[in-house]
Symmetry: C2
């Protein structure tokens, strides 16, 4: 398969992945490694020890992001960064995040084994709280680092037990002394599973990620009137769930009107009082749209609120729609993308250009550092699920491309 | 208002209602008196004491139903029964159930005050666990009594803490020695708030209840596939919530196709995994239809399952639809209905014939004893809600009609 003779060790990478998956392992074969918990601490401690065993210097910043630095031949050059995250969803899989960090570890090991000293220094990163499951704010560590939201605000976020991020950092000893702010860096590469079905469906080994989708997210609350299901005639009903159902259908239709690039999802929904024989008086739900182009998200953001309002009006209920945020399409850096493409070609791997539908730390890092991502297939496109699964050969292929891209970038003539 | 000079005491009835509402009173002005709890015991104890103070003999049967007997002149005659229930919803109102029992108490007091001895004996009943909120089985006491379900099965039902009905009966000392089975009785009358908007909307004081709606209830489970909201394209989505939404809309349309007599409700719905950025993989929800005629419920029961299945098939998800039960239309007894009509006319009250949309103990009692019900309006048709509200004059009117109907039945020439 490979046209290069500088190879990472696929078996060692797989063994490392399986070893880490034991930290927070669930009975169904998944992982529960919630950010800043004792389980996360065990993962961080092991990661730190492995890095230090390779001779890397580990720094921790104020939000717990970890940077493991390998010196370059030219200390004046800006480092080449790569990494991902070691935290998981509550019922997550073995590879979402962990693949990018542990493939980065394998890159460091292979460089050592091959006796390679790169021109530029290298830094392998474990970002804090990518998933957002515990404190409700995804991409937290990279978001604070990139200045998307403030450190104080992040430190004050609480989990469902009332524990703050700041307290949780202190509790596991990972509130570091480095400032959580961008520093001069030459590039950032992130390897991640696709979390979608495209690569598998088309039989491609590597996704060359050209950017991340534009998104708009809303919170919706419908206020109707709860009343007895047996006695309330149609003419006097104000059924919040019927109105919500029609808006869910609207979201799906607006997604499908954009073909296979469209994304529109109501993922979370709560009914009140949620009793069999009571007409629902209140429904709260999430709405999100994503698309590879800003223009289509502009249209969705312009057309969805009035269309949803018309449904609510027709049903005689009140709709409160709050736009949580809009993220513009984030293009990745052409020169970094090209290095990923060259790395895949050099390794003889089949590829497909792809726009990331998921949020990734790379999306925030890209605001300050030239960035690209590498996707590998995952079984049935499944992720955020204990059944998340990839093949050892897929992990190896992704890691090899990461190795090639990092090496080429760090040794480029400048 | 009244054309009769035998009057119940409206103020005393209201004071009794307000006094009972203190037992389990909630901060928002409602009542939480869950069946077979210590709060329910306090209500039962007070009811028993008030009955015994009037010279009534109180029996308790094996499921905790309470019967307070007033002797008639002719001990060979079958008793005339009346009553309702003292338990409430978790966030219930002051009148749902309590009105029927406490108006019955006022009937007993008025008979004493007026020095009336009826020909037939009278029995005032407090049925156990009408609401079904704690053990998940509504109309439990009257259902066991009427033989609709077995005593052993009822005793084995558990609440969310694992406490059984049998244990709860023992804990509050209300597992009685009488068999919970029908005994010879001449009639049963139940006064209840309408729990709907029809009487208020039409400005009628009394609803003459001619029977109870036919019903069919289902449990629905939709199994799709949970997947990442950002990465899963429309063509590979199996969104359980979108399919559920279309079935909710179907239920509403099937209801409305039957005009103002139709009832169709999805009151309870749970989404899994219920996460913002995950396409829902599973949705569980309730479906119920009601109509005054068996024929329309037959049509609904024939047409809904295949129509829902077609929606699921089109969405590429699996639908498991379980019919929980069908209750045929329960007509009430023409002679008892006529006594309610006469009682309202004698009292100069405006009336409307009405079919009960809610389930009531009377529906099960009617399988063994000639039965009728009396409805009074409630504000905005609201019930199963702490804001449930009626006027003192409305309680008085309903109680007066109950008095007239009971008296006429107990003194009829046979």
């Amino acid at each position: 398969m490979s046209l290069t003779n500088q190879r990472i060790d696929g078996k060692r990478l797989w063994d490392t992945l399986m070893g880490f998956a034991e930290i927070g392992a669930t009975p169904k074969g998944g992982v529960r490694r919630l950010t800043l918990t004792d389980v996360d601490k065990r993962g961080r401690d092991r990661f730190k020890a492995e890095c230090e065993a390779l001779g890397l210097t580990v720094r921790v910043d104020a939000i717990g992001n970890m940077f493991a630095r390998r010196a370059g031949r030219d200390p004046s050059r800006k480092p080449v960064l790569f990494g991902s995250h070691l935290d998981s969803q509550p019922s997550g899989g073995k590879f979402d995040g962990a693949l990018g960090v542990l493939a980065g570890l394998e890159v460091m090991r292979s460089l050592n084994d091959l006796g390679i000293v790169t021109e530029a220094p290298l830094e392998l990163i474990n970002w804090t709280d990518e998933e957002g499951s515990r404190f409700g704010h995804s991409l937290m560590g990279s978001g604070v680092w990139a200045g998307v939201f403030g450190l104080d605000k992040a430190n004050a976020l609480t989990d469902t037990d009332g524990v703050t991020v700041g307290d949780a950092l202190d509790a596991i000893g990972y509130r570091g002394s480095e400032p959580a702010t961008p520093f001069p860096a030459d590039a950032y590469f992130e390897l991640h599973i696709e979390q979608g079905p495209l690569l598998e469906r088309e039989g491609k080994q590597i996704g060359i990620v050209t950017g991340a989708q534009a998104q708009v997210w809303y919170d919706a609350v419908i206020i109707g009137q709860d009343s007895h299901a047996g006695t309330t005639p149609p003419s006097t009903r104000k059924d919040a769930l019927v109105a919500a159902a029609r808006i869910i259908d609207l979201v799906d239709r607006m997604m499908r009107a954009r073909g296979d690039d469209g994304r529109g999802t109501v993922g979370q929904l709560h009914v009140l009082p949620n009793s069999r024989n009571v007409v629902p008086g209140e429904v709260r739900f999430s709405v999100e749209f994503r698309h590879p182009t800003d223009a289509e998200v502009d249209v969705l953001d312009a057309e969805f609120p009035p269309a949803a309002q018309a449904i609510a009006d027709a049903a005689g209920v009140k709709l409160e729609l709050t736009r949580l945020f809009r993220i513009p399409m984030q293009p990745f850096d052409p020169s970094c993308i090209d290095l990923v493409r060259q790395g895949a070609a050099k390794s003889g791997l089949s590829t497909r250009d792809i726009v990331s539908g998921a949020g990734h730390d790379a999306v925030y890092v890209a605001r300050h550092v030239p960035t690209a991502m590498i996707f590998t297939p995952c079984k049935d496109g499944l992720s955020h699920n204990e059944a998340e699964s990839i093949e050892p050969s897929e992990a190896e292929a992704g890691c090899q491309v990461l190795f090639e891209a990092v090496l080429a970038r760090a040794n480029r003539v400048i």
